[in-house]
């Protein structure tokens, strides 16, 4: 009788190769989920259409902002991709609840792989909803006024911003442990924030006595966003990976 004391499968190579391979496997799983659970995609598509139409058609007249559609679209883009990033939170909470993370933790895989796959899934969902929003925006009169490269750069910054926010939500999902809570909590936080910000209404429009804001962040929006992206990634990627390696379903 030969005793089985050696593992049946050895490591597939360097830690980096393993990381890339595991991350790709997890990403594919999340892409299949988008295909298999079409509700996700339907709401991903309907929500931005609803917001673009509501704000551009219902509010535009009352806004007293010249060319409101072009002002609005930037805000809608940002709001929609941020909401798209909450999928990571709900999915991680669900995996934790189902005991799937317990199983992952007994497998010889990179601890970042599942998170990479999940956040990549959000990125794909957000890219699709960006396309839908652009189409809807174009119908109601939104036009690109910058150069082609400026336009691509803007799209890139938006997607990167939503990607880094996915990591924040993934950490939150593993912390609150309930998919329902993460959906409600993120809505409670994100919805007021988008209204307080200048996403839908220019700041000096909400209160005429308020002096025209001159904050550095408002004058350097692109740099501000990039700083935000870097800060979120540097802080929340390691935190989320560490949480994944230590979190337990009970």
């Amino acid at each position: 009788m030969t005793a089985v004391t050696q593992p049946a499968f050895e490591s597939v190579g360097s830690p980096l190769a393993q990381f890339v391979s595991d991350g790709w496997i997890a990403t594919r799983r999340n892409l299949i989920k988008i295909k298999r659970v079409p509700e996700i995609l339907v709401f991903t598509i309907l929500q931005p259409i609803m917001f673009v139409l509501l704000f551009s058609q219902v509010y535009a007249g009352a806004m007293n902002v010249p060319d409101y559609v072009n002002f609005l679209m930037a805000g809608i883009f940002a709001q929609t991709v941020i909401f798209g990033s909450t999928f990571s939170g709900a999915a991680m909470a669900q995996d934790l609840k189902d005991g799937i993370i317990d199983r992952f933790r007994t497998l010889p895989m990179s601890p970042a792989a599942v998170l990479i796959g999940r956040t990549n899934g959000d990125l794909v969902i957000n890219s699709i909803s960006m396309l839908i929003m652009m189409g809807t925006g174009w119908v109601v009169g939104w036009r690109v006024t910058t150069s082609f490269w400026g336009f691509l750069g803007g799209v890139g910054v938006l997607l990167l911003f939503s990607y880094s926010f996915s990591w924040v939500m993934a950490l939150l999902g593993m912390s609150v442990r309930s998919p329902e809570v993460i959906n409600n909590a993120s809505f409670m936080i994100l919805f007021p924030l988008t209204f307080i910000s200048n996403a839908f209404v220019p700041i000096h429009n909400t209160n005429p006595e308020f002096p025209e804001p001159t904050a550095w962040t408002l004058q350097n929006p692109i740099v501000t966003v990039i700083i935000g992206i870097v800060v979120m990634l540097v802080i929340f990627v390691p935190l989320a990976v560490r949480k994944f390696a230590s979190v337990s379903s009970r």
Binding site: T5, P7, A8, E10, R36, V37, D98, T106, P108
Partner: protein, 248 residues
């Protein structure tokens, strides 16, 4: 054969294990060793700490005291992840993936390929349903997908939390034959159950009650000590004898 087995190191050594959850003590001062290449049945009423003990062995549970050594390493050591397979109590598979895609997914994370996934699907008797989505399966079929995901990487130590729940008698016998074949090849299995008739298929039993180890014995010893062939009755008598001992 017995001598050869005795020469092998123990698969699991637990000593003085304490686990608390919140203010409750879930496991109290557990100590035992499990030999390699055997089927150990983990039995006890629900709430006796079976799942918690299994989680401690696979390294998914924070322990409050004592030690758990698995295949010569502290439980949860990264090198053990290639050698330990775990089936959780809730079927931890993705409902939107097909049977085979689930097994391939968890297999791929352990370096196992398509052929290994097919072998694991065959092993749990789901060959005909391999292309079916997990959410379209019955409860018993669903949990067998989860079992296949634990088998696919061909681990040296298999920790299975109630793998036969919800299965009909024919399938249950099938799976226990499969477990026996794995043990004969040298795999160590730890299987929890609250069906006492399954205890008869194990090489040795760990009887848990209220977080304490009531006894570690073979099914034959249990029958002898309980003075009955009925394992369930024997277990009950053991508990009553202990209660009487505590009371006097």
């Amino acid at each position: 054969m017995t001598a050869q087995r005795a020469a092998e190191p123990d698969a699991v050594e637990v000593s003085g294990l304490m686990i608390n959850r919140g203010r409750h003590r879930v496991l109290t001062d557990l100590s035992f060793t499990l030999p390699s290449g055997r089927i150990t049945g983990l039995l006890g009423p629900s709430g006796s700490g079976k799942t918690t003990l299994m989680r401690a062995i696979v390294g998914a549970q924070r322990i409050g005291g004592g030690s758990v050594v698995v295949l010569g390493r502290a439980a949860g050591h990264p090198s053990l992840r290639r050698r330990v397979g775990y089936m959780t109590q809730d079927p931890s598979v993705y409902p939107d993936l097909t049977v085979e895609a689930n097994v391939r997914y968890f297999g791929a994370m352990a370096g196992a390929g398509r052929r290994d996934a097919q072998a694991a699907v065959d092993a749990v008797g789901l060959s005909d349903l391999r292309r079916r989505k997990a959410r379209d399966l019955s409860g018993g079929q669903f949990s067998r997908v989860s079992l296949a995901c634990a088998l696919v990487a061909r681990p040296v130590l298999l920790v299975l939390d109630e793998p036969t729940v919800g299965l009909d008698p024919v399938l249950r016998v099938d799976l226990w034959n499969r477990f026996a074949a794995l043990a004969a090849e040298g795999t160590t299995l730890i299987i929890s159950s609250h069906v006492m008739e399954e205890a008869g298929r194990c090489d040795s039993l760990l009887l848990l009650r209220e977080g304490r180890l009531l006894a570690q014995l073979t099914p034959q010893e249990l029958r002898r000590r309980g003075a009955t062939d009925d394992l369930e009755l024997a277990f009950l008598r053991l508990i009553q004898a202990q209660n009487a001992g505590v009371a006097s």
